[in-house]
């Protein structure tokens, strides 16, 4: 299996605080990898670096052969739009837009007929089984529904890899299980590569491969 992501000797320092220390790792195509560790261990910062949301102080990251640590801010934006999907703990939906518009958000800067955008968004909402909530704004959705919308948004641009930062962190256990099932389904059925940050040991147990972090270092 080929690597979809390769990171080498990553370091990240904020002033006097080094939060990521000499991390090297690879993610294979179609792999579901978990990044676990205690709060403050540097896992979210590492995920930000690996996904191009943050530049490392040193080290390199390449995704599917593209060295993203050398890319300009705008090149990275386009790269994220075309190749990556994001799911956040706090959902990060735009409060003024409806569910389907939130799903279509990455498509807004692309010249495209609005009907096509809506069609793509509706298809994904249907897959997430919340197409009946398509016209609702985030404030009227439950936590589980919001996360389903966020997952649909992460999928709308047909990404090569999804970065999920504690996607079940704000959900009850039942809803967490449902969201995990969706991610597992996407991984198994669609062959999607997923890197998921979690501190939930139970969830981590069902993932292909686990990397543990402590004090900014990969420990296992």
């Amino acid at each position: 299996m080929n690597n979809i992501l390769t990171a080498a000797n990553l370091n990240k320092r904020f002033d006097d605080l080094q939060v990521v220390k000499d991390v090297s790792l690879t993610i294979k195509k179609g792999e579901f990898m978990g990044l676990v560790g205690k709060s403050g261990s540097g896992k979210t910062t590492l995920l930000s670096i690996l996904s191009g949301l943050e530049q490392p102080t040193s080290g390199t990251v390449s995704i599917n052969g593209t060295l993203i640590t050398d890319a300009s801010e705008n090149e990275l934006a386009v790269f994220r739009r075309e190749k990556l999907g994001f799911v956040f703990q706090s959902f990060h939906l735009i409060p003024t837009l409806s569910a389907w518009e939130n799903v279509a958000l990455p498509l807004f800067p692309i010249k495209m007929d609005n009907e096509i955008r809506k069609k793509r968004a509706m298809k994904l909402l249907s897959q997430m089984e919340i197409d009946h909530r398509a016209e609702h704004r985030p404030s009227t959705l439950s936590g589980g529904e919001k996360q389903r919308v966020a997952i649909a948004r992460a999928l709308v641009n047909h990404p090569e890899i999804i970065f999920a930062d504690e996607p079940t962190g704000n959900l009850d256990s039942e809803t967490s299980g449902a969201i995990m099932n969706i991610l597992k389904h996407l991984h198994k059925e669609n062959g999607l590569s997923i890197l998921m940050v979690t501190h939930d040991q139970d969830l981590a147990a069902s993932i292909d491969r686990i990397i543990r972090m402590k004090d900014g270092k990969v420990v296992s």
Partner: protein, 416 residues
């Protein structure tokens, strides 16, 4: 720019959007209203002269008549020599020229204000042609006279009657309502200039106070290029000396005394202050709005919006809000203009321009031209304010969104 997103942002964040729109609307309304008001006062000040199709009226002050017998000159309008008239007529910037002769005629049985003018010249009293209510206008060389309507009523003068003025007999050819035209150049009897000049030349009282030749005059009516009026006034003073009075729209404006009428600089300064305050309010409102939306902008960037995409979207929102503010401001100012248009202004006519002797009953009373303030908003001003508000939106939106688009998504998203 995504219009759907733009529309939803403005619709669902009404308070924020309305604050920006109303702030700008008030500023733009103040700006337009001040300018419209200033223009209205300028326009009002032009009215007394505009009504007689003139831009400048020139008179020379002199001595008071020794005896009030027969034809005399008012002390505010004594002889302007023919050679002076000819020199002035040739000045650059003059677009039309008329001369007149104002006489007070003290006959045994009545006092008559007489104005002589060239009936074929449309500049100055020639505009009375359109104010003839009965009969016909003066014709040259026919020994005719026009009677002012109230004078004709007082003395029961009819068309075809003969009136004696200064010992000469004239046939009334028409009745004219000079009150409709202006407070300037109002007389009881209007004569052909040649007849009036003859009367002045033969008058001992006139000759004793101010020697007069048959082609001289005592009032000049000048139509001029508005940009050259000040230069012309200086040149006329150079020809006639300092003891003259020149009435222009600027001199009427000074008499009005309103702050808006005092100077264009006042209007400019107030407009600039209003503009600067408006821009600052818009900047503050927009900056506050964008600061609240840092997280949202972080999301946009995380899901693949480039800095340029963010700038275009946010600038679009700013432009639309400011455009709406500009349109609303224009509507506010149209309402304000229609209310201000109800104000009546009294334009004082300088005493030297009033043809009535001050020693007669009511002659010393201040004379006013009363009119409704002509407050209008020109298309040019309306278009300027819309362009200005859109530009404010583009500049403030562009500057602020450029700044905020540089935020790192990881920084704002991890703080949640």
């Amino acid at each position: 720019m995504n219009l759907r997103y733009l529309g939803k942002e403005l619709y669902h964040r009404k308070r924020r959007a309305l604050t920006a729109v109303f702030s700008l609307a008030v500023g733009i309304a103040i700006l337009i209203t001040i300018n419209a008001l200033s223009k209205a006062y300028n326009e009002a000040a032009r009215m007394p002269l505009k009504e007689i199709d003139t831009d400048m009226i020139v008179q020379r002050a002199g001595n008071v008549p020794e005896n009030l017998v027969g034809p005399v000159f008012a002390c505010s309008a004594v002889t302007i020599k023919k050679n002076e008239v000819d020199q002035i007529r040739r000045l650059q910037g003059i677009q039309g020229f008329g001369q007149a002769l104002l006489l007070w005629v003290f006959d045994e049985e009545r006092f008559t204000i007489v104005l002589g003018f060239d009936p074929e010249n449309p500049v100055g009293p020639g505009t009375l042609r359109s104010q003839v209510t009965q009969g016909r206008f003066l014709e040259k060389g026919k020994n005719q006279a026009l009677a002012e309507v109230s004078y004709a009523k007082n003395y029961n003068i009819q068309i075809g009657d003969k009136v004696t003025v200064g010992g000469k007999v004239y046939q009334i050819s028409g009745i004219v309502d000079a009150s409709r035209a202006t407070k300037i150049a109002v007389a009881n009897i209007y004569l052909d200039m040649d007849d009036a000049q003859k009367m002045a030349k033969e008058s001992k009282q006139v000759q004793n106070v101010s020697p007069f030749e048959s082609k001289d005059a005592n009032i000049l009516f000048i139509k001029a290029n508005p940009k050259q009026i000040d230069t012309l006034a200086r040149s006329i003073k150079g020809i006639m000396g300092e003891k003259i009075s020149i009435a222009t729209s600027a001199s009427f404006l000074k008499h009005l005394g309103s702050l808006f009428a005092l100077s264009d600089k006042f209007s400019l300064a107030t407009s600039l202050i209003a503009l600067v305050i408006t821009i600052l309010i818009v900047l503050k409102t927009m900056a506050g709005n964008l600061a609240e939306r840092e997280n949202e902008i972080g999301i946009l960037k995380a899901v693949g919006w480039s800095n340029k995409d963010v700038v275009i979207q946010l600038s679009g929102e700013s432009i639309i809000q400011c455009l709406a503010g500009g349109i609303l401001g224009l509507i506010f100012s149209l309402v304000a203009a229609s209310l201000l248009g109800l104000i009546q202004v009294n334009i004082p006519i300088p005493w030297e321009m009033s043809p009535t002797p001050h020693f007669l009953p009511g002659g010393g009373d201040p004379v006013f031209k009363t009119l409704q303030l002509p407050v209008t908003i020109s298309w040019r001003l309306a278009a300027f304010s819309i362009i200005l508000s859109t530009t404010i939106g583009a500049v403030t939106g562009g500057l602020l969104s450029r700044h905020i688009s540089r935020i790192k998504p990881s920084e704002v998203l991890k703080n949640e």
